[in-house]
């Protein structure tokens, strides 16, 4: 396997160098560097969005999620991702229209421009910074743990983490967003190929799909229904997860940037359909890997299960491709997020272009180093931590939608309410306040993330409604007096 690892690793690195040099030669301005020329076709567009969306936790977290919590995990990820594809065609058109009107450089700058207040940009920046830096850290740490479990004599977890951050920073600082997009496309192809090959091997192990589920039923029948053996996948949990995932194209900057830089609306539409299909095929491939683990490695800890199912039980070339694919997945998701954070900061800066770019590049390095520190210090709850990050950014959705969909500038009360919502959610994550609202006398309970999302949506509707009514009133009065 080591020989294959060197060969495939060299090919991957060669691909990255080629992508970086190609991107660098096409980059003639800071806009080319930050926005990849705004000319993305649908195939590369789909691969880069998929690579950003399907991070390491798809190949590491999701098989373990299916193994531990059963088939309800399909709703958690696949139903949400296919609904997300629909959200892209609905939201993307509105976003692209507003982006054209306001010289888009990032959502933070767009919010500042539409709300007419710098604080709108700051609230957005704070929200994505607080919740996306841990998500980047999860990617880096997840792959570090996996590689360390697979090659215990090569590097410690922190060593793998540093290596990944170094590679990522090198090509993104040199080639900009286009280099990242090319690298994403390479990763998307590797991820899909590897997942399909391993899934085929897992089904072959059982003989057929029916036999696979029969064996899982014999091991633990609760895996074949919701809420799963541990009771996690309750309807409320699945609904809350669904909402936060479909809001990703609205709230997360790595997605919004990609929607804006698609060549035209038609390319974005095709990309959305292809993304939905990509999600279904990829997650269909993940199901057998999880069921294989449930039947064969039910008692093993996560890292050992993954190491055996993805590496030791595979042919050497596949095992090597998995290792490279996982590194590529971690890198592509992390670099897209870090670059997007830098891009959002840039949209809030003004002044000499060279100075702005210097600050932006410096900020990307700073965010990467911060994520590295968090990665080295954080725990191993990959999927749930990722979900918390998504839930945190989802709280920004009503605030963003109000700006993009409303004809009038929304009021500052939405900025304050959103900041308050973010603070409350952060309080629940740090356990300073409860994460569930309980009405014991009525026997009801509601997750705080769901309550915040519903509360902010309602408040936004009321605010827009009242402002719209107040704006109409003077004209009605003047029409009456005439």
């Amino acid at each position: 396997m080591t020989t294959w690892l060197w060969i495939l690793g060299a090919l991957y690195l060669g691909g990255l160098v080629f992508a970086t040099l190609g991107a660098r030669s096409q980059s003639h301005s800071s806009d080319d560097f930050m926005m990849a020329g705004s000319d993305l076709g649908f195939i590369v567009g789909c691969l880069t969005v998929a690579a950003t969306l399907f991070s390491t936790f798809t190949l590491l977290g999701m098989p373990d999620f299916f193994r531990t919590h059963g088939v309800g995990a399909w709703i958690f990820l696949a139903v949400s991702d296919t609904a997300l594809a629909f959200v892209i065609i609905w939201f993307g058109a509105h976003l692209r229209r507003r982006a054209k009107e306001h010289d888009f450089q990032g959502i933070a700058g767009l919010m500042r421009s539409i709300y007419g207040s710098r604080w709108a940009g700051y609230v957005y920046l704070a929200g994505i910074f607080i919740f996306l830096v841990p998500y980047v850290a999860i990617q880096i740490r997840g792959i570090g743990i996996f590689m360390n479990a697979t090659f215990p004599d090569f590097l410690p977890v922190w060593g793998w983490s540093i290596l990944i951050v170094a590679v990522m920073l090198t090509y993104s600082e040199l080639g900009g967003l286009k280099a990242i997009i090319y690298a994403d496309a390479i990763q998307g192809v590797i991820l899909m190929t590897v997942a399909l090959v391993i899934a085929y091997g897992c089904i072959s192990h059982f003989g057929s799909i029916s036999a696979m589920f029969s064996e899982v039923r014999a091991t633990n029948e609760a895996l074949l229904s919701t809420p799963g053996p541990k009771g996690l996948l309750s309807t409320q949990f699945l609904l809350a997860s669904f909402l936060v995932i479909i809001l990703v194209p609205i709230t997360q900057p790595q997605m919004t940037t990609r929607l804006v830089i698609m060549r035209d609306l038609k390319s974005m539409h095709r990309m959305a359909v292809m993304l939905g299909l990509f999600a279904i095929v990829l997650i269909l491939a993940i199901v057998p890997i999880g069921m294989y683990g449930a039947a064969k490695y039910a008692e093993l800890p996560t890292s050992e299960f993954l190491s055996r199912a993805l590496i030791h039980d595979q042919a050497p070339i596949i095992a090597a491709a998995v290792a490279i694919g996982l590194i590529a997945a971690a890198i592509s998701t992390a670099d897209s997020l870090l670059f997007a954070l830098g891009s959002e900061l840039r949209s809030m800066l003004s002044g000499d272009e060279k100075t702005v770019m210097r600050y932006t590049k410096g900020a990307i390095v700073f965010f990467a180093l911060l994520a590295l520190v968090v990665a080295i210090l954080s725990n191993d709850q990959l999927v749930l931590l990722a979900r918390v990050s998504f839930a945190g950014t989802a709280i920004l959705a009503p605030f963003i939608l109000a700006a993009l969909l409303s004809r009038r500038a929304p009021g500052p009360e939405l900025i304050v309410a959103t900041a308050l919502g973010l603070a409350l959610f952060l309080g629940s994550v740090t356990q300073a306040i409860p994460d569930t609202l309980n009405w014991v006398s009525m026997g009801l309970s509601l997750r705080l993330d769901l309550a915040l999302l519903m509360g902010l949506s309602l408040f936004t509707l009321i605010s827009l409604g009242v402002r719209s009514a107040c704006a109409k009133q003077p004209s009605a009065l003047s029409a009456g007096s005439n």
Binding site: R96, I209, S210, T235, L265, V287
Partner: protein, 77 residues
């Protein structure tokens, strides 16, 4: 033509919303029940796979009738 597209687009949105809602009803989420099985797949899995396929189909139809497509012919939406 533009009006019928607009109606079709609204129907697509309604369809996607309804399908999403149905996912969280006992039609798809059958708590602690594995049957009825289909091709060896437990009920929650095959029904949610169908929902996913239907959502992609709606996305595809949505791209054909999206009102922005006509503006796109002249440049972009």
């Amino acid at each position: 033509m533009k009006r019928s597209n607009s109606l079709a687009w609204k129907l697509c949105c309604l369809g996607a919303f309804t399908l999403s809602l149905l996912t969280f009803t006992p039609l798809v989420i059958s708590t602690n029940t594995t049957g009825p099985m289909l091709g060896g797949l437990p009920h929650t899995l095959w029904s949610s796979i169908l929902v996913s396929l239907a959502l992609v189909a709606l996305t595809f139809i949505g791209t054909l009738v999206h009102p922005g497509e006509q503006a796109d012919d002249q440049g972009d939406a």
